[in-house]
């Protein structure tokens, strides 16, 4: 039973990271119906930016006391800002021109952007995994036989807080309203005086900033990163977004945690599970897309003709 609860905790913290990435997928898909394939790489970029900031601050191990708060805030906000700007640039360069092109055209440029980002990161930090400083000291909490690390709590709390903030932003602010309007009917929104370009850019800014936060957290969590991380994590987060119901913020969260749990339990309870984890997760992806493309919380949308 302890093993079960231990994997539950592990799965939830894994899921927190996926959920943060999934929010970006779901926002962008909701507004321009594009699978932003480069999003996973923006997340990896978040880890790389965080690492650069930490090195700039001279942090190479655990940080204690009051400094910890500053280091965490500074690094995370820095990574979020840089990733946000990257996301906006990607939209401007590779997607905006193709907004009225056939659906598959921007998907192909998105894959292209993903490869470009991966190559850039490979050139930046080399093709092998890189160590990431621990930053957060690790007193673990023991509940029965289950060990909960401080950073696991951080991941879960951060994911929930960010989602709540995003939900408030989308439903309580004017820009949020503009986003919802644009998602519903771009042309009508434009006729009502909404600046479509700014709204879409804002969506990319926020989505990518959340990926930046996920990047920082995953760096601290795994204490290592790799230029190719974003491919797998991105696919899993996309699975999460679809599982929850694409375009739905709470759904992305739910999907993220579910995928995290699937991964943790598959690793533990399937014989030689670690080898088959990805097969299981990708099978979930295929099954969800095929049998319930509207996801758990999404509504079935007719294809726009």
């Amino acid at each position: 039973m302890d093993i079960f609860f231990q994997q539950l905790v592990n799965g939830l913290s894994l899921g927190g990271i996926y959920a943060l990435i999934a929010l970006g997928y779901t926002m962008v898909y909701g507004i321009i119906e594009l699978i932003n394939f480069a999003h996973g790489d923006v997340y990896t970029l978040g880890t790389f930016f965080s690492l650069a900031i930490l090195l700039g601050l001279g942090v190479s191990g655990e940080v204690h006391g009051f400094a910890l708060v500053w280091v965490v805030l500074l690094t995370m906000l820095g990574a979020m800002l840089l990733c946000g700007v990257t996301g906006v640039l990607i939209e401007r360069l590779a997607y905006r021109r193709l907004r009225n092109a056939p659906r598959l055209a921007p998907l192909i440029t998105a894959i292209g952007m993903s490869f470009i980002l991966e190559n850039a990161m490979q050139l930046w930090r080399g093709p092998t995994p890189i160590a990431f400083p621990a930053v957060i000291p690790n007193p673990s909490l023991h509940v029965g036989g289950v060990e909960i690390a401080a950073k696991q709590i951080l991941v879960i709390v951060l994911a929930v807080v960010m989602m709540a903030g995003l939900q408030l932003f989308i439903y309580r602010t004017k820009m949020g309203k503009a986003m919802r309007a644009t998602a519903q009917d771009r042309e009508a929104a434009q006729l009502m005086g909404i600046d479509i370009n700014t709204t879409i850019a804002m969506t990319f800014l926020i989505g990518s900033a959340l990926a930046g936060a996920a990047g920082f957290v995953s760096g601290v969590y795994y204490q290592s990163t790799w230029f190719f991380n974003g491919f797998e994590a991105g696919l899993k987060a996309f699975t999460a977004a679809v599982l929850g119901g694409i375009g739905n913020v709470a759904g992305a969260m739910l999907g993220g945690f579910l995928i995290g749990l699937v991964e943790a339990f598959a690793t533990q309870f399937i014989p030689q599970g670690a080898q088959w984890t990805n097969v299981v997760v990708f099978s979930v992806l295929v099954l969800v897309l095929v049998f319930r493309p509207s996801g758990l919380l999404g509504e079935a949308l007719p294809e726009k003709v």
Partner: protein, 360 residues
């Protein structure tokens, strides 16, 4: 026109006698690999170019073709099915998997279909990797049978000519060439057939296609099956020459490489696809390593082969933005890709007319 035809003949003749002119085995070896990728590109072109189904996991079928050969024509299980039989057999197995993996995607719209195929593209090589007891896991399967001349097929092992030496790629060159010729013949005939027109109808408007009585299920599945069969052929030739099959040859980047070839050359156009494929293979397998050598020779510490992903990415982004119809476009495809932009123009014009002349 005349000059064009003569230069085509000259090019064909050059391709035919090339191994006799250039005795450098590494060059021929490179050309065989490029040829295998032309086969892959021709196959993917049926799925993506003709039928408009974006398959992001095409490397899975390449893997299935290659592993079929590795398992059935090596000491792995003691089965030594002849190469020539395997060509046919692997193409059929790949086609079967094309149907199996295509079937779940039938109801999906374009972008979800792409992601599901991507999922299969990840699952298949991972499965080959994990089934270590049959596939030797990460080590792959080595010492594959080399093809023998058809004498063996006729039941007389003594006639076996040792044409396919380990260090001579020339026989593979001609086999690949023959397969490409077959592929071009098949693809161009299909394109102008009833089935080919049905593919194009689906690509342009699936709903409309269904309403004019096209059986979209059969039409889509046949695209998946025929497309996959090409990669079965490519897998057999490629792995027989390499004499080894290992799971890391079939990563996502291979699927994207083949897609880049299509995008570069021109989706839907057979000659465009061949040119795009060859160009990219040439840059990849020849230009980048050679310029790296050159850079090293003049004392520059540059490795151009590290820029491969950048190249694929730049091709995908650049071409889709500025020349979505590819270098050598198919006329129909260009019209389709341009129509959306034209529509936007018309809409703007209509709106301008609707607003009418300025009021006084």
């Amino acid at each position: 026109m005349q000059a064009g035809r003569y230069s085509t003949y000259a090019l064909l003749a050059l391709v035919l006698i090339f191994p006799l002119l250039d005795r450098n085995n590494s060059h021929i070896d490179f050309l065989v690999n490029a040829g295998a990728f032309i086969l892959l590109a021709l196959g993917l072109n049926i799925v993506v170019g003709f039928a408009g189904l974006l398959d992001l996991g095409y490397a899975a079928f390449f893997a299935i073709g290659s592993y079929s050969y590795a398992m059935l024509a090596s000491a792995q299980f003691g089965l030594h099915v002849p190469f020539w039989v395997m060509l046919f057999f692997a193409a059929s197995i790949a086609a079967l998997f094309g149907i199996l993996l295509g079937a779940p995607t039938l109801r999906l719209r374009g972008d979800y279909l792409a992601i599901v195929t991507l999922g299969f593209g990840e699952i298949v090589p991972q499965t080959f990797l994990n089934l270590g007891q049959w596939t030797n896991g990460p080590n792959g399967i080595g010492s594959l049978d080399r093809p023998s001349a058809p004498g063996l097929l006729l039941g007389a092992p003594d006639w076996k000519l040792h044409l396919f030496g380990l260090n001579d790629a020339t026989p593979y060159y001609y086999v690949t060439l023959a397969l490409i010729a077959l592929g071009v013949l098949l693809a161009s005939n299909l394109q102008n057939s009833r089935l080919g027109r049905a593919w194009m109808a689906i690509r342009e408007d699936e709903l409309a296609a269904r309403h004019v009585g096209i059986n979209t299920t059969v039409t889509k599945l046949s695209a998946f099956a025929l497309g996959a069969s090409f990669s079965g052929l490519a897998g057999v030739v490629y792995s027989a020459k390499l004499n080894l099959v290992s799971p890391d040859e079939f990563q996502f980047s291979v699927s994207i490489l083949v897609l880049s070839m299509l995008v570069l050359g021109g989706m839907g156009n057979i000659w465009g696809v061949i040119v795009g494929s060859f160009l990219l293979s040439f840059v990849n397998g020849f230009l980048l390593p050679q310029s790296t050598n050159l850079a090293h020779a003049v004392g520059l510490n540059l490795d151009f082969t590290n820029y491969r992903f950048f190249l694929y990415g730049a091709i995908l982004v650049g071409m889709m933005l500025f020349r979505p119809e590819g270098l050598i476009p198919s006329r129909q495809r260009r019209a389709e890709l341009r129509v959306a932009l034209a529509d936007a123009g018309v809409a703007a014009q209509e709106q301008a007319e609707y607003e009418g002349p300025p009021r006084t």
